[in-house]
C-alpha cells in the first residue's frame, strides 16, 4: 500500500503532542509528591498512553491546589 503522506503536514501535530507531554513531565518532575494525586509513575503512564486526553487529565485532575 503506497500512501503518500506529506510529513510537512504531520509534524506540527506530533510536535504539539510532544510539547503537551513534555510540559506534563516537567511539571510532574518539579512537583512535591504530596501535591500530586496518586503516584507520579501512574501519571507518567497516563500522559504517555492517553495522548491529548491523558495530558488534559493530568493538568486538570493530577495536582492538588497548593
Amino acid at each position: 500500500m503506497d500512501i503518500n503522506i506529506n510529513w510537512g503536514l504531520i509534524w506540527p501535530i506530533i510536535a504539539l503532542q510532544a510539547i503537551l507531554a513534555v510540559t506534563g513531565f516537567i511539571s510532574l518532575y518539579k512537583a512535591e509528591p504530596a501535591s500530586i494525586r496518586g503516584s507520579k509513575w501512574m501519571w507518567v503512564f497516563i500522559i504517555l498512553l492517553g495522548n491529548i486526553l491523558g495530558s488534559v487529565a493530568y493538568f486538570v485532575a493530577g495536582r492538588r491546589e497548593a
Partner: protein, 258 residues
C-alpha cells in the same frame, strides 16, 4: 484601576505557573490543525482501515473549505469548551478552598476589581487559545482544501468568541458558592441546555445566547445573518455574573468543606 492590574498580573502569573498558558493553547491548536488534516486524509485513512470497499472510498469527496471550518468549531464546542471550563473552574472556587480569598478579604478591599481581573485573565487565555486554534485550522484548510472567505471566518470567529466567553464567565458566580468541579459541571450543563433549546425551538428563543455557536457556524458557511440580541444578552450575562460573583465572594470567602 491600580488594584485591577495587580490582580490581573497575579492571575497571569498563576496561570503560567500551572502551565495553563502552554496546555490550553496547545490543545486548541491541535484540535484546529487535526480537523482539516484528517478530513484531507480521510480517503487514505478509510482505505488503510481496510473495511471499506475501494469503490466506496472513491465516492468520498472532500468537503468544502467552509464546512471544514464549521466542523472545526464543532470540535471546539466539545473538547475546547470542556478544556476551557476545566482550566477555569478553580479561579474562584480554588481560592476559597485554599483560604487565599479569606486572606485577601481580611482587608477591606473591594471584590469588584478582583473579580474583573479574574474575568479578564480567563478571557485573555480563552481568546489567545481560540485565535491560535482557529488560525491553525484556517491556515491548514487554506493550504489543503481551498480558499476561504476571510471576512466570513472573522465574523464567525467573533461570534464564537462571545459564545465561549459567556460560558466561561458563568464559572465566577458558580465558583463563589460551589466547589470547582460542581461549578464546571453546571456551566457546561447550562451551555448544553441553551444550545439544545435554541436548535429545537429556534423561533421562540431568538435572543438566547445559546444561538451564538450555531450562528457562528452559519456565518462561516456563508448563510444566515447576524442578529444582535443574543450578543447583547451574552454581554449582559457576563456583566451580571461578575457583579454577582463579587458580592457572593464577599459573603462566603470560605469553601463549605474547609
Amino acid at each position: 484601576m491600580k488594584s485591577f492590574w495587580i490582580y490581573y498580573q497575579k492571575e497571569m502569573t498563576e496561570a503560567s505557573r500551572t502551565y495553563k498558558w502552554i496546555w490550553v493553547p496547545a490543545i486548541f491548536l491541535l484540535l484546529g490543525i487535526m480537523q482539516p488534516v484528517s478530513t484531507y486524509y480521510l480517503p487514505e485513512i478509510l482505505s488503510m482501515a481496510g473495511e471499506v470497499p475501494p469503490e466506496a472510498a472513491a465516492l468520498f469527496t472532500v468537503p468544502s473549505a467552509e464546512s471544514v471550518m464549521a466542523s472545526t468549531l464543532g470540535q471546539f464546542n466539545i473538547i475546547g469548551l470542556l478544556v476551557l471550563v476545566l482550566a477555569g473552574m478553580n479561579t474562584v472556587a480554588g481560592e476559597r478552598s485554599t483560604g487565599t480569598a479569606e486572606l485577601v478579604l481580611a482587608r477591606s478591599v473591594s471584590t469588584i476589581p478582583m473579580m474583573t481581573a479574574k474575568w479578564a485573565a480567563m478571557i485573555t487565555l480563552m481568546v489567545v487559545s481560540f485565535a491560535l486554534g482557529l488560525g491553525g485550522a484556517a491556515y491548514y484548510t487554506y493550504q489543503l482544501i481551498g480558499p476561504l472567505d476571510w471576512a466570513a471566518v472573522t465574523g464567525g470567529a467573533g461570534l464564537y468568541a462571545v459564545w465561549l466567553a459567556w460560558i466561561v464567565t458563568l464559572l465566577l458566580p458558580l465558583g463563589a458558592i460551589l466547589r470547582g468541579p460542581a461549578a464546571a459541571f453546571i456551566s457546561l450543563a447550562v451551555a448544553g441546555a441553551l444550545s439544545l433549546l435554541s436548535s429545537l425551538l429556534p423561533s421562540h428563543v431568538q435572543w438566547s445566547p445559546g444561538r451564538l455557536g450555531g450562528m457562528a457556524a452559519e456565518q462561516i458557511l456563508g448563510s444566515g445573518s447576524i442578529s444582535w440580541s443574543p450578543i447583547l444578552v451574552a454581554i449582559l450575562i457576563m456583566a451580571v455574573s461578575i457583579i454577582v460573583a463579587a458580592r457572593l465572594l464577599r459573603r462566603s470567602p470560605l469553601s463549605p468543606q474547609s
